[in-house]
Homo-oligomer: 459 residues x 4
């Protein structure tokens, strides 16, 4: 990359997260001297792009730095000669996520927008688009790094590496960041006095912590988790883990493990929200509307406090830190989705894992974590293979593979209802699933329709 | 082993299956010239032992062969210098199985006596006993083969190899036998014209079939399965698989895969039986009572037809064929639980798998099946690791490990109810779980009691 | 395949082995009712083809069976609708082998026509030709089985599977056959009373033997090997193994292991032959000349005794047995080069290994052997990777890869001489190495010439 | 560990390297505030210990720091409550190494004190001693870190982890240090502008280098290696690699790879030295004698320049840096022998590898390197298994295993001479091989004697 005049292209630039991204770049300008930022979006996102784009421009103007912010609907123009490409787009916008969540829940099953039924459909919609972007990058910016935080971040990154044959990519997630922000305080210390080791998959990882005295403090943190608030992401229902289980595993699971370790309570909570205040996506839509109202204020030139409620806080900041670490060869410890290379020896060295890495000019240097104990190993292998089947289904458009993916996903209760959910989701997302056109045509002929009232209103 | 005067010791000799075992030995006498059979049981099974033992003696008397049948409660006497030991005992008898099934179902969860919550407790009860038997064998008959058909056969065999350090063992199951009896007719051919390859774990395996012309007929069988009755074991509810899924996997799953591929319907059916005719164990108790009434008939000297209804039909015959194949070095194709050795390369070479093998004097020569596709691979790995955690919990008596095993078992919905089920099962089986004495003492102090009415009646 | 009118195509039909092949087919006619045999050869082999072809015709005429033997130089005509294709050709004929052996020996290094420097060049010459044949088969006989006994049989089979993407192939070797012919007598028994398990690679495998009483007799055979003649193939110098080593490994190595376990003596012997009676290829040339003199005799209509001296005895008979086992679904135990599928778990499941298999209509069902001990595991892995590098060099024509292959081959002493040997072999075989045309052109420009007098005479 | 009053115990404290170690501690005192250093040696090394111990004391006195240096022959006293234990002892001193080198060379074979025949005997002598030390540590300083630089460092570290069950250990080597000191200058840059990734085994590793601009400069360094001096350790004969080979592998081999990639020339050079100036050990003996003369000078209070000639330069400095990195949680990139954990996925996750790691309070965090290409993978696997067999032979004293290790070692030409070398080495080192007492007694009865004149003089 050129050491001068860094060009950033942000796909999905109209996202409500963009101000956090701008803030992250502004505070790192000294080590990451950006010259231009291109915020790209699609026609349907034009209005949001203009609102948040104007806000972004005000933020840079309020800073001491001279950076050009461009707004465009032309992806090629944005990618041309970019040094870093960030992806934070959402195919079908939040309305699609509402369907991802509500249709499964209308059958009493978890939707879950990353690893559940909803997450699989998010993968089906997103993977063809990201592979298109990768093809564009091969032509327009073949030396650029792709920093992805579009969910399901693990599957998307895997698709980029496996089918896009593009290795200069890291997937990011704010879940490890949140843990590392919360836990040091539980021990009355600060992050720089602790050594973290994460390993697993996106939204399905564990970690261990050592103090700078060499003492393993994982069990101490587990102990505190049961006397304090455990720093759960705001978008996850707060049911505690079983302490006996955590003490036995001697690792700290991520917040999303609640979906697996407390499946019953998570499902009960989701059904309750479905019937009352609306699912997470519906709540987020309100938050987003409020945020965009704020962003319209021509006097606002800094990230508003309210963004923290959005659930994905620190996501964009992690992206900025990653980009700065690559550019300035900082060697920072960051938890990224990257090629395994053996770091998680229970999975194939060539697949993508989410793991502690030292990030610098040579990319991510993942830390070899060692084999997991059987209780975690088997599930991790099941989850990775579920991801692989989902991705293959997205790439091939094969209905049988999609059904296989649904069957093996632990958040889906296999059977007739699962198949109905899947079929309804195909219909609900038909505009965003050209890869499954044949399947959708067949299902429409068979008369499949959407059962959930709210989802059909939205359609 | 000695080529003359074969001695067989059958632990759990009072089982209702014993007549099938006798029949199997009688019809193979020419290749397997047995001189003595020792039927062993425990004090609690004495009455049954005497009834079925008398029946066994009549069967041999009605045959042209001179074989001594001994009945004993002294295991050491039976094992001394045995050539083959078969194990078909049930710790806690059918009453324990009733609890294994009813307690989970009282919370709306699958009990399932082999791979579900019930199966895990069956493993907890059985593994310490089988390891004791192995220790006896090391002293009393160190060259004998152990042929196990006590369920969960896969976990029990794994425990024998891994913790008992005893390699001369094969685990048997009648599920593959049933498939091989049913499917040839679906193709208007006979078994000897087909080549079967099975791979996986006990009650969690798949198979492929080739004709003697070299043509793979797996998809043809799948096709017939959806136009005919698919040969499901009588103890499994008959919900069809999804054809799209089977066509995609190009393998035939075993009957027990319904618990995973049609989880919803299997659970609905089990709840319905729980609320109406009683669970499988309760039905079996009735069948057994009828069988023992028949066995009491001093004129009955052959296996009665009614035994076929029992669910485990062909189990004992498979055991006889296995023993004959070893003794006479027949090289018969038998599906056995045996050390992997690489046959299923997605699992550790040292673990136990259920796989097609050619059985002869050198034991089981497992056929290398090759890697599975991701959709099957991940779940298989999850299941094997669930087995390993369950076994380790049985051996160590560690409560945290038991909770881990429950959490990762796909038939258990993790959460508060799962933990309650587990705790109740510990209480319900307290007489048969010396390995978990500390846990049970703690739970009793905490006031854990059994919720299900029928189970508590039985207690 | 059709059950009537089997068509066999034999590529390299002018080989001196053809009469053994004919004899093998004649004695198995009842189970393998052949209707036509096509012997194919190239222009340079026309005379031999005619001599041995006439002999083949006489053999069938002397039999009670009506089989048409066709001689042709047109490979396509022979392959068209064939049921079985056997390959026994030698690119560059025996003269090429003379160079493979003499050029390395002129530097005091082992040539060795299968796994040594010579074997690598044999692979370089053969692999492009076999991949051409596979492409022809895809068009002309897509359901045929390819039975390869062209050396280096392991590498050639690996190339067929890996680069030819052709799975219906088995590689054959007479080394395991010889062991199974010799060893039973050492125990005063017959083969049908023993159970053999072989595992490894072509010319680099080990085996274990069990008696039909269940007793492992491997150590007993090892013991006899040091009191009797050990049944070494006639083409391998007869230096004994170290007994201490074999007792420790508890397996019987193959004859070719002498090149590794007694490297010093094998090299001394080869150098001695080089300087006196000529290398193996030179001796074989004489034997072949004698054989063809015999074959010219219009009265000879059966395989002459002298063929046994040729070194590859039983090769062709093994091929016939393999074909008959496939066709008649016999399930015979045959040691074949086939896709690993996990049978040798220390190697990738997708690579080709040489292993005990039961051969029938479904092809080879390899027996899972289990992990090897470290002493054998590491070398086996090194050998397999040497094969892979050699094959990749053959396919890509990459000089650096060829040099890598030479460097890692344990029979080559890396350094300046090794590189000279390699360069001279490129020059010596230039007519048969179109894949390395660029390299050869460069070497010629650099003035590389062949040092060995005999080899240059032959050039 | 305690943050105050660090205690260091150095086993083999009488080594000529001790002054470098002292220098390393002195210059890092601010981050590593040592309070006491215990130099331990055995009776036979007492004189050297006193000379170098006095020198060590002078060095600390000349420094601004108050550190107590203790000299002792009582290992327990030194280990008691130590925070760090360093091991740099040599069982049998340099005289043993002379035999390790000369006896193989007397048969025209490489001795090579780390990975060759000599190295295996060094392992045989050293492993029982290091395992004793580990047992002492379990009693006397169970929280200490063991920093080993006794050769063969890879095998010794593996033995500590595998048989000693001690994980707080790192093995160190100066070979990677030398590469990282030399290569930056070849690119006109400094080390902090480069990112190094090493992977493999001790004295058998490769590395890749990336610039802080993200550019992979490995091929650029390879290019320079053929126009400049390549930074070969002074104890390795300077024959160049083949450039074609290195360009193909796209990695830089370590200096010791010359023994494998240029086996011929390395052997010729060693034979030449054997016949003329003496082997490396004999040269080192002279250097050592000179060093100890220098050390006797009561005015010398700093490390003399001449130590750099010794061959192991930077070894001790690397040890000091490692200790400081652990203590001060520095996270420095250091190449260490440590548990693999997947970093080198072609080897078992539980074995010891030599690999780039970030070293801090949590020990070594190894960087996952990813799978190697076949050409390197196979040999690496062969070498690791050779190590494992050698270690097992050392631990069990099994002669057959020792013979296996000799046979599979690529630097040993298997055969009669190899066996003679091995037998002579057993006799030569009999005083230091109690583990092989039975073997040695047998060999003495058989009349094995040492052939090499110099070695027998030394005996």
């Amino acid at each position: 990359m050129t050491k001068k005049g860094i060009k950033i292209a942000t796909i999905g630039g109209g996202s409500s997260y963009t101000p956090e991204l701008m803030e992250g770049f502004i505070k790192r300008y000294d080590e990451l001297p950006i010259s231009e930022i291109w915020l790209v979006d699609i026609e349907a996102g034009k209005e949001k792009l203009e609102i948040v784009g104007a806000m972004a421009k005000r933020m840079w103007e309020a800073s001491p730095y001279d950076v050009d912010v461009h707004l465009t609907l032309n992806r090629e123009e944005a990618l041309k000669d970019a040094d870093f490409v960030t992806t934070q787009f959402r195919v079908g916008l939040l309305d699609a996520r509402v369907k991802d969540e509500r249709i499964p829940l209308s059958y009493g099953m978890m939707g879950q927008e990353t690893n559940g039924a909803g997450g699989m459909f998010k993968a089906f919609r997103t993977i063809p688009v990201i592979l298109d972007i990768v093809e564009d990058m091969k032509r327009l910016c073949p030396n650029a790094w792709l920093i992805n935080f579009t969910n399901p971040a693990g599957m998307v990154t895997e698709a980029i590496v496996r089918y896009g044959k593009w290795d200069k990519v890291m997937g990011l997630c704010n879940v490890p960041v949140s843990a590392m922000m919360k836990e040091p305080g539980m021990l009355d210390t600060t992050l720089d006095n602790l050594i973290y080791k994460f390993a697993g998959l996106n939204h399905f990882h564990w970690h261990k912590v050592t103090k700078d005295t060499g003492e393993d403090v994982t069990l101490e943190i587990i102990d505190k988790m049961f006397s304090q608030d455990a720093g759960i992401p705001v978008n996850i229902h707060n049911v505690p883990f079983f302490k006996d289980q955590l003490v036995q595993m001697k690792m700290i699971p991520c917040g999303y493990h609640r979906y697996y370790y407390r499946e019953q309570e998570m499902l009960e909570s989701a059904i309750n929200e479905y019937n009352t205040i609306g699912t997470r996506a519906q709540q987020v839509k309100e938050t987003e509307a409020e945020l965009f109202e704020l962003y319209k204020d021509p006097k606002l030139d800094h990230k508003p406090e309210q963004l923290a409620k959005r659930g994905g806080a620190h996501y964009s900041d992690a992206a900025c830190e990653t980009i700065a670490s690559i550019y300035a060869n900082k060697g920072t410890h960051i938890v990224v989705s990257t090629k395994n290379n053996g770091a998680v020896p229970d999975l194939d060295p060539d697949c993508v894992v989410e793991v502690s890495a030292f990030v610098g000019a040579a990319g991510a240097l993942p830390i070899a974590y060692g084999s997991l104990e059987p209780a975690e190993r088997g599930w991790l292998q099941a989850m990775k293979n579920m991801e692989l089947v989902t991705i293959e289904a997205a790439v091939t458009g094969n209905y049988g593979l999609a059904l296989q993916a649904f069957t093996i996903n632990p958040l889906v209760r296999a059977g007739e209802d699962a198949k109905k959910i899947m079929d309804e989701l195909f219909i609900a997302h038909k505009d965003y699933l050209p890869n499954f056109a044949d399947t959708i045509e067949r299902l429409e002929k068979e008369g499949v329709t959407i059962k959930d009232a709210v989802a059909s209103e939205l359609a």
